[in-house]
């Protein structure tokens, strides 16, 4: 029988106040095992206080071929950034 453990992605919160960050992946037969493995593999040196695991196949990723239409239109919307607006230097706390 050829029965390979699926791949899981591991997200770890390093400490409270921070977001979960992608740490890497691993293989596990089920979610419980994925959590346990993630704990043993990715937090050996106290790197985390919380773990998320998600089976890799459940992640929908954008296609880099579409990067142009997805991300470039935002580039010229400079009015979304504070530096777009001219204010005299005397105005403080803004």
């Amino acid at each position: 029988m050829k029965n390979n453990w699926p791949l899981w992605e591991v997200f770890v919160r390093s400490k409270n106040g921070l977001e979960h960050r992608h740490f890497g992946s691993l293989h596990a037969a089920d979610a419980e095992m994925a959590l346990e493995n993630a704990r043993d593999v990715y937090t050996r040196r106290s790197e985390g206080v919380s773990i998320w695991v998600v089976e890799s196949k459940n992640i929908t990723a954008s296609n880099p071929d579409n990067n142009g239409e997805l991300f470039e239109p935002a580039q010229d919307k400079i009015y979304r950034h504070p530096t777009f607006y001219d204010l005299p230097d005397e105005v403080k706390h803004m």
């Binding site: 029988m1 453990w5 691993l26 293989h27 596990a28 037969a29 419980e32 095992m33 346990e36 493995n37 043993d40 593999v41 050996r44």
Partner: protein, 251 residues
């Protein structure tokens, strides 16, 4: 109670951690998957860490310049007081998990009591160990279920291991004379009191794992008196090899 009573009592707890840690470390690099290999090594490291805390305490009790290593490596086989269960060899992964599970359930119950010991050092070591051992029990229970309720082959293999190792479980609750002396002082634990909880928890997990709880009448004991099985000598040959071949050196 004399110092020697306390020392002997600590051996009865610490040697379990040492010998099981040694057995688990034999597997490092040979596990069924990288992930399980890493997990097994973590448990070995936890156990060896606990061992060191106990032995450092013993060294301070004994004095005479003794170190944790003298205690770990330079006793004779009869002076090791671990239970027979933990010295059983890694016949296959089913044995590794069954041995771990049968010990973890006991180990956690023991430490939960020991954290209330009148001896502050022992209580502190136990308290720290509880977190580690809770995880061990969770890990081994999960694997008992996976193997028990996995495939036909895994079911049969882990059942075989449980059946085979069951005869060593009774010894966990055996009180030596020394154990009773130390328990009377409020320092040691009356392990007989743990028996009922132990078998209840073990049975629950085994049943969930669709495994049969063995019914046997005859049990093995002796480890607590230093009377070990034939495997033990080989384990110690490895463990003690360097210290015996090159005595009185620093490493």
């Amino acid at each position: 109670m004399k110092n020697e009573n306390l020392v002997q009592y600590i051996y009865g707890i610490a040697d379990n951690a040492l010998i099981l840690g040694q057995r688990l470390s034999e597997l490092c690099g040979h596990g069924p998957s990288l992930e399980t290999d890493i997990a097994g090594t973590n448990m070995a490291l936890d156990l060896l860490g606990q061992t060191r805390s106990y032995y450092q305490y013993v060294a301070s009790l004994v004095g005479e310049g003794k170190t944790e290593d003298d205690i770990a490596f330079l006793r004779t086989e009869r002076q090791y007081k671990n239970v027979l269960l933990v010295e059983q060899p890694n016949r296959h992964f089913g044995y590794v998990i069954a041995r771990q599970f049968l010990f973890d359930v006991f180990h956690l119950l023991l430490l939960q009591e020991l954290q209330r010991s009148e001896d502050e050092t022992l209580a502190a070591i136990a308290k720290k160990g509880i977190k580690e051992v809770s995880y061990h029990r969770r890990f081994s229970s999960d694997w008992i279920k996976r193997l028990g309720d996995g495939t036909e082959e895994s079911h049969q293999k882990v059942q075989e291991a449980i059946n085979d190792l069951w005869r060593f479980t009774d010894e966990l609750f055996h009180m030596t004379e020394n154990d009773m002396i130390v328990a009377d002082e409020g320092v040691g634990i009356d392990v007989k009191q743990l028996r009922e909880d132990y078998y209840r928890i073990v049975k629950e997990v085994l049943e969930e794992a669709t495994l049969t709880v063995p019914e046997i009448k005859y049990f093995q004991k002796g480890g607590k008196q230093g009377i070990h099985g034939e495997h033990m000598g080989y384990l110690l040959s490895d463990l003690q090899y360097m210290q015996r071949t090159y005595p009185n050196m620093k490493w």
